[in-house]
């Protein structure tokens, strides 16, 4: 679908509502009689919406990175005096680490293999968020909890035990009752990961990327990044998100993100 500059300008003017009445009427007639033009207009609306979304995502990422940079800025001189001995030990460790990384096999195949092994290990592990939830809730008696908390605990416990087939139907029943609950959507995303449906998992996790609950949001972002390693052309996006996590002091996955990035050359 290659579009001429002249037609592109007309489509943009139409979508942005900048046409006068006469041009608008004529253009709408053209759309009604030309399915290619109707498709081009429809696609223009989608491209516009996608750029609005990606522009906002980029802006949020820049702001979060800036905040992380500011948090990292510390008065170096006074810290050095205070931590001189620690710094000496750290320098030795850093020297050994650098030597190790210089001497280790450094070809991409080696790294790629390790990277995917790391990702697979992460996917086969339990979710820390779900596990913490189950442990915290199990301390309290069922009468102290709301009906929704009890229902969610049941779903999360089954996921925690690795019974994903049962968990899937139970999660769907839970979401029928609490359709937009972030914890329920996360359960569904987690099951998708366990079933290796990574595109589906990405779609579900993307609904939770801006959720207010920080521990959940941090885990969502981490798994969202890892899922991108599993889809075609997803590596760049995965790395970008992991770099953001690695800069975030308040993410429980900061260290993991750093480790994975060291493999993702």
């Amino acid at each position: 679908m290659k579009i001429s500059d002249e037609l592109n300008q007309r489509i943009e003017a139409y979508v942005m509502g900048l046409m006068n009445d006469a041009d608008l009427e004529a253009f709408e007639k053209d759309i009604a009689n030309d399915s290619d033009l109707a498709n081009a207009v429809d696609l223009e609306k989608k491209i516009r919406a996608a750029f609005e979304k990606s522009g906002e995502d980029d802006l949020i990422r820049r702001i979060r990175n800036t905040a992380a940079e500011i948090r990292h800025e510390t008065p170096v001189v006074s810290l050095y005096k205070k931590w001189k001995n620690v710094a000496a030990v750290a320098a030795s460790v850093a020297f050994i680490a650098i030597a190790y990384f210089m001497l280790r096999p450094s070809n991409n195949v080696w790294n790629q293999g390790n990277l995917m092994a790391y990702v697979d290990t992460e996917f086969s592990s339990k979710s820390a968020y779900i596990n913490d939830f189950v442990e915290e809730k199990s301390i309290r008696g069922s009468l102290e909890k709301t009906e929704q908390e009890n229902a969610l605990e049941e779903v999360y416990s089954i996921i925690n035990d690795g019974e994903y087939n049962n968990a899937q139907s139970l999660t769907k029943s839970y979401l029928d009752k609490y359709p937009s609950d972030a914890n329920g959507i996360y359960a569904l995303a987690h099951i998708s990961i366990k079933n290796a449906n990574y595109i589906e998992a990405i779609n579900q996790l993307s609904l939770l990327k801006t959720v207010d609950n920080r521990p959940l949001r941090n885990e969502v972002l981490y798994y969202y990044a890892l899922c991108h390693f599993k889809i075609e052309n997803g590596k760049e996006e995965a790395i970008k998100i992991l770099e953001q996590i690695a800069l975030d002091d308040r993410s429980e996955y900061q260290k993991e993100a750093e480790s994975i990035l060291s493999y993702a050359d």
């Binding site: 679908m1 290619d36 989608k46 919406a49 702001i63 709301t146 609490y178």
Partner: protein, 188 residues
């Protein structure tokens, strides 16, 4: 560096233009006041940071939508957005006392999966076009910049930027139509 007398419009324009130093300065200059405001509303520093970051995004979006044109200083404007957000946070928490902690009503699950898939593909393909193209189209679509300003910002003529933007979109359209999802819907 931003001078102390630099106007609100100029600071935001620099942020829109990709100047992260302007963003950093803005952050450093105003975040402490928002932390104090959070304290007054009995909110944590984490809340302060979340609210401040959301407010920065809102301010820039309002600026691009012509709802804020530097009639107040950046500091005053940010402060008022943040104050409203803290008030809303506290109000919403009072309303949701019976609901599960950490449960956030965000979006209905009755979302068409095809639409989500299309959006994912679009976002991914946007990242695959050249950085120049991403910049031009982002300034146009997200920051709502007129072609004349985009041309000035990038140092090209307006005519060239318009032609370039369509070339970029043709590249994006071509990439989209190579995916099965878009091919089945828009391929002729």
């Amino acid at each position: 560096m931003i001078s102390t007398s630099e106007g609100s419009e100029a600071i935001i324009e620099r942020i829109i233009g990709g100047d992260d130093n302007a963003l950093k300065k803005l952050y450093k200059d105003h975040f402490d006041k928002i932390k104090a405001l959070a304290h007054k509303h009995a909110r944590s520093e984490t809340d302060a940071e979340d609210v401040f970051q959301e407010s920065l995004v809102d301010m820039i979006k309002n600026f691009t939508a012509d709802k804020f044109r530097g009639e107040a200083s950046v500091g005053t404007y940010l402060y008022s957005i943040c104050r409203n957000k803290f008030l809303n946070l506290n109000r919403n928490e009072r309303i949701k006392t019976t609901e599960l902690k950490g449960d956030v009503k965000i979006i209905s699950l009755d979302v068409d999966n095809d639409i989500i898939e299309e959006e994912q593909i679009l976002l991914s393909e946007i990242k695959n076009i050249s950085e120049d193209c991403q910049k031009v189209l982002s300034l146009f679509y997200f920051y709502k910049k007129p072609w004349k300003e985009i041309a000035e910002h990038l140092g090209y003529s307006e005519k060239f930027v318009r032609v370039k933007s369509n070339r970029c979109k043709n590249e994006l359209r071509k990439r989209l139509l190579q995916t099965p999802t878009f091919k089945s819907k828009y391929g002729s």
